[in-house]
């Protein structure tokens, strides 16, 4: 296997500037080695002979190249308790704010979209049971939705392998899962029953609207990869699916500054989240 190419200073800067503009991610000198490796991997995968030809491909997002390239830096495999700082923020800050507004008048509704094979919504359920003192005092609905029907089937089955469980302490695995064999665990039926799954294409208002209003939406590592037109539609759809004052959480390398101006940024101890404004018009 050939040695990875070193990018010249100008190539490195060109790449960094493009990725920054497009995604908001900042790459600095310490990350340079990883970036070069990634570029080389993608150049090989796409049959690009030079950085210039690869960059042209990246720029035009040929066959979703931006997603392929950036994926490596978002550690995009799904597992339980991924981005647990957002789960901490959920119980420490987001839910208390929502309850202060609505009390027990209506259930707390949380949406994980896309939910893929279910790790994220099940994580929310487990986290609430383990970490939210008020979990028995409030009605909670957790929905997981995805465009991939096969992933949803797997999510409903609730069977997971070692990698998916790698961030969970052993006592939680023992508490919430049953081992099927050495390699697979099934999440308890009570938890499987506590999450409802549905199909959705978030770009289609006709599909998102029936899901109703949520207090918290987790929408990680998908909006940033859409083209401009789809991003606008998805952002507006998700805005409609948020109750006024509701929160939307993105992937930790994503920023609404590259996605949509509809939401207001809120900084909490554990996470930056975005909020649908409460019902006050912003008349100029």
């Amino acid at each position: 296997m050939a040695d990875p190419q070193a990018l010249s200073e100008d190539e490195f800067r060109k790449l960094c500037e493009f990725v920054y503009r497009r995604t908001g991610m900042v790459f600095t000198e310490p990350k340079r080695y990883y970036l070069e490796r990634r570029v080389f991997e993608r150049m090989t995968a796409t049959g690009s002979g030079t950085f210039a030809s690869y960059f042209a491909r990246l720029r035009q997002d040929v066959q979703h190249e931006i997603e392929h390239f950036v994926n490596a830096f978002t550690v995009n495999e799904t597992y339980f308790y991924r981005e647990d700082h957002q789960l901490r923020c959920l119980t420490t800050d987001l839910l208390p704010e929502r309850i202060a507004v609505k009390g027990k008048a209506a259930p707390i509704r949380i949406w994980s979209v896309p939910c893929s094979t279910g790790e994220e919504p099940y994580s929310v359920a487990m986290w609430l049971l383990e970490n939210w003192p008020l979990v028995d005092e409030h009605e909670i609905e957790i929905l997981g939705s995805d465009i991939d029907t096969q992933a949803l089937e797997a999510a409903r089955d609730g069977i997971f392998g070692k990698r998916a469980l790698m961030r969970l302490p052993a006592d939680l695995v023992a508490k919430y899962f049953t081992a099927i064999d050495d390699e697979r665990w099934r999440i308890l039926e009570d938890l499987r029953d506590s999450v409802r799954f549905s199909t959705v294409n978030i770009v289609e208002q006709g599909e998102t609207r029936p899901h109703g209003g949520f207090d918290v939406i987790f929408c990680r590592n998908v909006l940033i990869y859409f083209d401009d037109a789809s991003r606008r539609m998805a952002a507006e759809n998700l805005f409609e699916n948020l109750l006024p004052g509701g929160f939307i959480c993105l992937g930790h390398t994503e920023s609404m500054s590259r996605i949509s101006p509809l939401f207001q940024v809120r900084r909490f101890a554990d996470a930056i989240v975005y909020q649908r404004p409460t019902r006050v018009t912003q008349d100029g």
């Binding site: 100008d10 720029r59 035009q60 506590s194 409802r196 006709g206």
Partner: protein, 207 residues
Amino acid sequence: MPLVRKPVDRAAAENPDAAAVLQALGSNDADERWAAARAAAQVSGGATALIRALQRERDANVREAMLTSLARIGSDESVEGLLSLLRSDDANSRTGALDALRSMTGLQRDLLPRLLQDADNDVRILSCELVRALPSDEATDHLCALLTRERDVNVCAAAIDVLTEVGTAAALPVLQQCGERFRDTPFLAFAIEVATDRITAESTRRG
């Protein structure tokens, strides 16, 4: 266990009543105007009504929805509406219009020659941004044509900024000439130097 399944709310099948939608664009309730703005993309007369509504809409989010709908409609009328917002004295309108135009891929090819020659400096500056979406050769052609005739410093700066990302070797002679024309403007000299370096960037082999 308190975690409970609930049936999905079923939304009523909707075929927007055009007259109601267009009227709701003027509602006192921002939520109604928002919903109408989104629905207006699919009713006849939508573009005309949206353009008119944008002249007085003050809620930033409702404006955003209106602009998205205009972009989705994509008719000549909606494009002209967006272009007139691009010429606005109001920065917010210019930004909104540019973002909406940017989302209309395929449109840029038809519009760009005209926009890059617009009498308004700001329009030419903003239009350089639209060039970014094009393939490198095309983008370079547009920006070089602009730079060859451009007299405004800030328009040149905008074009050069885009060229640092998209420019091919074809841009180098034009950049050099531009540098000579504006040799007394330090920022442009800097910009041209960086653009030249980025365009001629080449990998080195490790080891």
